[in-house]
């Protein structure tokens, strides 16, 4: 396998950061998001102030409140987090299609094929984090490495709001002092076993040959043998469920009026239909985006289950009116319905 460029993006205290963004009075205070203590709730996440009190995710809320009596414990607002996550996904999509989500706040991007930033994954990670800050006022940390394992380890090193690069030629030096427990899948039990063998760092582990590791750890042995050398071939598996499809055109000469934009519709729609052809999901919304000649951007969307020309024309009118300037880019697209009962529009009969 030729050298790949993988970025691991990890949002900083995602749920808590969103809550602090939306309610500035929370800033500077210990904040956690999670279930209520009385109902055996646990923390989903907490901010750095709360971590000073020893709080961490998956901790029972009751324990957390005892340990940190002035904790601002907020209920989980999954809708809000999902929305933010989708916006972050839109940013990723500007760089690559190969996006593997681990959770709402964590994803791997394979940018090997991307020609953005002259192909520099380090610069792409900088740009992505900057875009997340400017569009969502949230911070992210990134790890950039030739594989997923190293990228994930790297994203943790300059957290929060930082990034760390492991270049291919630096792998050997990077890995040798890394504690083995940083390897994904090395939990308490394996770590104890390794400690008993006198293995603390990946360098220690490299001294053990493959048959010996397989003997002690079975299948995991092979993985340990590769991981302690910084090898990980696993591919970035992009999600099959698409959330939107869109096309855009940047015009060499700016479009001067709404009607000029509307006139571009047939051409854009033809391209959109081509891209939608393999998609077997239903349409949830139609949207347009415009970039004006001063590079200001706007987008407008509306609920729709059909691909309606009239609706696109209407949306273009609304978007154009916001700036009333010459237009350099017109994009049209659809948001797709995700087929789960809660998202496909089916309403619940019983109160949940």
């Amino acid at each position: 396998m030729s050298t790949r460029k993988i970025i691991h993006i990890d949002m900083d205290c995602f749920y808590a950061a969103i809550e602090m963004r939306d309610d500035p009075s929370l800033r500077g205070q210990p904040v956690a998001v999670g279930g209520q203590p009385g109902r055996r709730g646990v923390l989903c996440t907490c901010n750095y102030e709360a971590r000073k009190y020893g709080l961490h995710s998956a901790m029972p809320s009751g324990v957390a409140v005892r340990q940190c009596p002035n904790l601002q414990l907020l209920p989980v607002n999954m809708f809000k987090y999902r929305e933010a996550s989708e916006q972050i996904g839109d940013i990723f999509a500007e760089y690559t299609d190969a996006i593997e989500w681990i959770s709402l706040d964590e994803a791997y991007l394979d940018v090997t094929e991307s020609d953005k930033c002259n192909g520099s994954a380090t610069w792409m990670a900088e740009e992505i984090r900057a875009a997340i800050w400017s569009r969502l006022t949230l911070t992210a940390s990134a790890g950039i490495a030739p594989n997923k394992m190293l990228a994930k380890i790297a994203s943790d090193l300059n957290k929060p709001n930082g990034q760390f690069v492991v270049l291919p030629e630096e792998i050997a030096d990077f890995i040798v002092n890394l504690p083995v427990k940083k390897i994904m899948g090395v939990g308490k039990v394996t770590n104890k076993k390794l400690e008993a063998m006198g293995v603390v760092t990946c360098g220690d582990l490299q001294a053990w040959d493959l048959p010996a590791l397989q003997e002690s750890f079975g299948k995991m042995g092979g993985r340990l043998h590769r991981c302690c050398r910084g090898e990980d071939e696993s591919a970035v598996r992009s999600e099959r469920v698409r959330k939107s499809v869109s096309v855009e055109i940047t015009y060499p000469k700016s479009l001067m009026s709404v009607s000029a934009c509307v006139n571009e519709m047939p051409h854009l729609k033809e391209r959109l239909l081509k891209r939608m052809n393999p998609v077997d999901q239903s349409i949830a919304k139609q949207f347009i985006k415009l970039t004006f000649d001063d590079f200001s951007k706007t987008s407008v969307e509306a609920l729709s289950t059909l691909l309606s020309d009239d609706l696109y024309a209407q949306l273009l009118k609304i978007g154009f009116k916001r700036s009333d300037k010459p237009v350099r880019l017109v994009g049209i697209g659809v948001r797709l319905a995700i087929d789960t009962a809660e998202d496909n529009g089916q309403m619940a009969l019983l109160g949940e």
Binding site: D280, Q281, S282, L303, L306, L307, Q346, M347, A348
Partner: protein, 374 residues
């Protein structure tokens, strides 16, 4: 089993087919893929179980020679397949040979493995708190009209079954998957005792296979943890789901602003045509009510569309409601041919479907579907 037993293929196949549905191919306990066969003077019976639901089917047979009581277990699926593959009324001879059971018919000979009958795990019987009789047709109709609305493998485990309850001298069966609800009931409940039990989905489906459209009654016994139903030809025993069924009565619209008369067949056929252009995943369709007309439209991701119009007696504001077409068709499948009514308040409230004709079994029913957002 010392002497060979002589039976016919059909007297084995009848009771076997009644119980085989519960016998799963992949079992954790090997004996659960077996059925227990009991032969007495003039009857042969089989028991199949998955340790949640236990079924017994029985048939009579006339033996020329006196028969000792025999009890043994045989691989259920294989025995059914052998009997099915033999010609009608073929004569069958069964006898034990070492550790196996031999089944012979004409020029065919099968040697089957057997496991000790005393190891067969029958569900422990408990005393019944309530006992009553009901006609098979009525019970079947109660289940048939509600079964499609049970949830499947829902985390809300109490929805993966059917509620059987008595309220104000009516016997009610109800099922809901959280999106739609079916309720069927008989006035003049056959018991004055209070019942409130949830029969698991699998039990309901197997019971439906056992019940026939005969006037013959079945005896129903309800205990703390089980329900037992028996007739001269079969018996059924199922564990109950221990949980609280939601208060379904509050989702049934009591007062509705709009009530429309429709013909069930006309609506069903229109939906079946519209369904052609729904994709496997995308089941949302649109009901558009306008003056004098109901227009039903479906779209798919390929941007094809289907439209059906049905004249209706409606003269209010135009209104659009989205539905999952599968839920509609399941409902119309259950409602008999003839006039029906559709009652509703608006596009974001539950919609009531009722037949306007009485079911000949005396079982009445109603169906509620929650719309989809458009």
């Amino acid at each position: 089993m010392t002497n060979p037993i002589h039976l016919t293929r059909d007297c084995l196949l009848g009771p076997l087919q009644k119980v085989i549905g519960v016998v799963e191919k992949k079992q954790t306990m090997p004996i659960l893929s077996n059925v227990q066969m009991t032969i007495e003077d003039n009857s042969v019976s089989f028991i199949g179980t998955d340790s949640e639901v236990e079924l017994m089917g029985e048939a009579l047979f006339i033996s020329q020679t006196p028969v000792e009581t025999i009890r043994l277990t045989l691989p259920g699926r294989k025995l059914v397949d052998i009997c099915r593959a033999l010609p009608d009324n073929a004569a069958i001879e069964l006898y034990q040979e070492k550790e196996s059971v031999v089944l012979r018919s004409g020029k065919s000979r099968f040697t089957l493995s057997t496991l000790p009958a005393e190891d067969f795990p029958t569900i422990e019987r408990e005393s019944a708190d309530v006992e009553f009789t009901l006609s098979q047709t009525a019970l079947k109709s109660l289940l048939q009209q509600t079964q499609a609305f049970m949830a499947q493998q829902d985390v809300r485990y109490y929805l993966n079954g059917l509620l059987l309850t008595t309220i104000d001298n009516t016997l009610i069966a109800a099922a809901t998957d959280g999106h739609r609800l079916a309720k069927a009931w008989i006035d003049n409940a056959p018991t004055s005792e209070d019942i409130h039990i949830i029969i698991p989905r699998k039990g309901v489906m197997e019971l439906l296979r056992l019940l026939s459209d005969s006037d013959e009654s079945v005896t129903i016994r309800v205990g703390k943890n089980h329900i037992a139903i028996s007739s001269p030809h079969f018996s059924f025993l199922s564990k109950l789901i221990d949980g609280r069924f939601p208060d379904y009565s509050r989702v049934i619209p009591k007062k509705t602003d709009i009530s429309l008369a429709l013909d069930r067949d006309q609506l069903k056929e229109a939906l079946q045509r519209v369904m052609i252009l729904c994709s496997e995943k995308h089941k949302a369709i649109r009901f558009e009510f306008s003056k004098g007309m109901l227009t039903i439209t479906a779209n798919n991701p390929q941007l094809e569309s289907a439209e059906e119009s049905i004249p209706i007696d409606y003269d209010l504001e135009n209104m659009n409601i989205g539905f999952n077409i599968k839920y509609l068709l399941d409902t119309l499948q259950t409602i008999p041919s003839g006039p029906m009514t559709l009652s509703l308040n608006g596009p974001d409230q539950s919609v009531l479907f009722e037949s306007s004709t009485d079911n000949e079994t005396g079982v009445r029913s109603l169906f509620v579907i929650m719309p989809m957002r458009l």
